[in-house]
Symmetry: C2
Amino acid sequence: MHNENHLKSSDTIRDIVIGMSDGLTVPFALAAGLSGAINSSTIVVTAGIAEIVAGSIAMGLGGFLAGKTEADHYSSELQREYEEVERVPEQEKTEVMEVFADFGLSPTLQRQVADEMAKDKDKWVDFMMRYELGLEKPEANRATQSAITIGFSYIVGGIIPLSPYFFISNSQMALYYSCGITLICLFVFGYFKSKVTGQNPVNGALKVVVIGALAAAAAFLVARQITG
Amino acid sequence: MHNENHLKSSDTIRDIVIGMSDGLTVPFALAAGLSGAINSSTIVVTAGIAEIVAGSIAMGLGGFLAGKTEADHYSSELQREYEEVERVPEQEKTEVMEVFADFGLSPTLQRQVADEMAKDKDKWVDFMMRYELGLEKPEANRATQSAITIGFSYIVGGIIPLSPYFFISNSQMALYYSCGITLICLFVFGYFKSKVTGQNPVNGALKVVVIGALAAAAAFLVARQITG
């Protein structure tokens, strides 16, 4: 089989992308918004770090629980399918046949396939899980690893737009540097993200930059409105 | 076929859950963190609204682009499969056979299935898309709808923890009300979310509350550390 499946295996890269794209965007926009309203880098840094802490925990734990839920859901459905092939084997065979009816196989062939598959219960249940229910077996420890990767990527992403505010006490001035650094990083990040996911890299990079810039501009304008 | 597939159809509910769980958690934790560091509800409100604007745009547009990418990826792979069944039909038949070899069908039956499926090109390609590549045809307009639902749910979720700061100028006092209201809402939200996704509702609700409380406590402590 030629290698068409590479996208699905890169779960870690997907987690880095999830964490870092939000990490680069939201703290950046928050800092921009505050700079438009309050001229104090201390407040921007405090809010920015509070946001990074909150966001990385929420996203990381969110990723952990999503992974856990997926694993729990898989085991409970797996158990249910094993019970059903014991309890109502003919009904489950009909379900196998229905899958193949959708692909234009003749009833005779559907029946042959269902009968032959029913000889090995494990493979039969595996087929039902994947092709009737659309569930893939989740990797062990996926949830924990996913949580750490997403949370850490969010922190790394979030520190970048915030860094100028550490060194420049005038937050309006720091904002210029933050915009410059962050838009460059968003472009680079978007470029590699698109390469990995098989999109056009420059198009993909521009999309990521536009999201970041729009979010920051909107936050800036709204925050200025409130205080102004 | 009995109704085992209900989870997959509820894409809108999934989008509401994605938007609202982050919306309730991150602005809540940010407001808590700032209240621990700076005694001014105006700054908390400004930062909170800037965060909600930034977060809803980042998540909404993020959801939009993810949906778009999925749709683009589907069409490009679809075109590729149509080309391949024309260009290398025998190789594609072998791939169909390999799918069935994994489920314990005999080589004779594998060959019969592959030959019969190859008679209808649309169904053959549909099979390859779903069962070799694991790709489902994305709904039309899914991306736009997803963006709006996620973004709007984030705003609704985010307004809740922020609301006490609108009315109470002492941010430490507002924090108590914010914690009370938000933890109740997180519980209610977690309860219904778990019901919809088939988990134990009380367990699920407690998990959601713990994430929110942990994120807020961590943001509070870190922000106080910086300023203190």
